[in-house]
Amino acid sequence: MLALTWRPQLAPIDPPARSSFDAALIRRGEQLAGVGNCAACHTTRDGGPYAGGVALATPFGTVHGTNLTPDPDTGIGRWSEAAFRRAMRDGVARSGSRLYPVFPFDHYARASDDDLQALYAFLMTREPVRAEAPANRLMFPLGFRPLLAGWSLLYLDRAPPPHDTRMSAEWNRGAYLTASLGHCSSCHSPRTALGGEDRRRRFDGGEAEGWYVPALNAKSPSPLPWSVEQLTDYLSSGIARDHAIAGGPMQGVVAGLARAAPADVRAIAVYIGSVMGDPTPQRDERAKASVARAERGPLVANASTVTSGDRSPLGLGAAVYAGACASCHDLGRRLSSGGALQLPLAVAVHDPDPRSLIRIVLRGIEPLDGEPGRLMPAFGAQLTDEQVTALLTFLRQTAAGAPPWPDLAAAVRSAREDESR
């Protein structure tokens, strides 16, 4: 077994000079690094770009993003293009050691030679930063990396992304980017007990960093269908008027896609739009009902009639909504310049799982450092757990018209503990 899975060290090189890479190739690599959102795992708030060190909590322990700058000792300065290609395709470092699959090489394996060449040119021309990644902390026996070869045998699929000659070139480009560098289904699909992506349930929805990640296929929780234009806007700016404002882990994805080639972002939108499919008559009904709820007027008809005396979840929830939410989300939405989402249309209220909405209420939506975006203030300090639970009970019924989320109070408590860590 070890003989089958053993991989040799590849010869070190002297870090190539910047001038040895073509400027247009570097530029294309930069755009592709945006599609792949490499920075999410390889750039910390206080470290240099791509210098690694991001702690990634997995169900199996904590792994740290590595240093991708061309520093010869702590980065990839001594990696040849062949070594880089092997890492991206096989999940094996230049030294021959296995990389943990939180690095989505199961997707990157499908990237074209040209795209990997461009990414290599981009990374090898970054400012070298000397930064050793902190030690990983994994549950026994996963600290022994050769075991990871077994994971690769199970989950690494080298088949090229499907090319469908009946579809447009744009659709095919989108299908390729989504399946390879974009690795969208990594978060938007459920995972198996071994942490692999469950391919039979691709795009059925998943989770990331305590957020629910919505389904992107026919199971999409969005009450209104997404147009290609809305998806394109959302992917490149994080804002889709009638659907959502990007929050949590999706903010980094948007920051990356804002740097990608606009044609590539649109191609991804075209492909994802087709995965969602044309609305069924049943979904059309849901859309109509949501629009009707949004047009009916404020969720709480007259805020001043709401007293703080009603302790039922719906009564308390209405009071929380009227006092804390309505001034931006309702009542003419005057304070937020009309930019706040109408909650009957907001995807998070319709999610099958409350985790994303809980996080949005507790921490708000704060644009990443230096990135444009809409700001919703955090309400974690304003509201008690009981008030958050009541608010979500109220919104689920009144804004979404959907059955209550099970175990909501426990989900609020657990998100609160995680946020205060």
Partner: protein, 164 residues
């Protein structure tokens, strides 16, 4: 009537439960330390403490405060006997126009009550939601550092004894 617990005293207020705490503090109770900046929870000038946490009072309807203790900058000291954090802001001359300072002090107070020995990075991260348009952030950070070094433990201890 809604009864609030403000700086250790009960205050009965006759106002709609959806009224922001900030309006009640300033208009009804004449506690004018907290300022109205944006009214949108985006600037922090209105920051006070509720239940030990820094809260933007423009977003805090009084009907939801319930039994939680409210602490405002007036609760930390007086012009003749400023509290440790207020004194540190004076020593560092951290105010220029001063509009943001009451909010800055209350956000810092919430940090020091919980964590009397914050690192510089923790101070920066904690203070991030509050804006100063004059740009005296560096002096504000120095003032918080000074208060932590000199009186952090005292501030944390006092908050434990004075908690309701």
């Amino acid at each position: 009537m809604i009864t609030l617990n403000i700086n250790g005293r009960a205050a009965a207020v006759d106002a709609d439960p959806t009224t922001p705490l900030l309006y009640v503090l300033r208009d009804d109770l004449k506690l004018n330390g907290a300022k109205f900046g944006c009214g949108l929870g985006q600037c922090g000038a209105c920051t006070v403490m509720v239940g030990g946490q820094a809260v933007m009072s423009c977003l805090m309807p009084i009907g939801l405060v319930e039994q939680r203790a409210v602490k405002t900058v007036e609760g930390l000291g007086t012009p003749t006997a400023p509290g440790p954090l207020q004194q540190a802001f004076i020593d560092e001359q951290a105010a220029q126009c001063g509009y943001c300072i009451a909010g800055m002090i209350m956000r810092a107070q919430a940090l020091l009550e919980r964590n009397p020995h914050p690192s510089d990075a923790e101070i920066r991260r904690h203070m991030a939601p509050n804006l100063c348009r004059c740009g005296t952030h560096l002096r504000i950070l120095r003032a918080v550092r000074r208060a932590a070094d000199r009186s952090g433990v005292a501030i944390a201890a006092e908050s434990r004894t004075s908690a309701p």
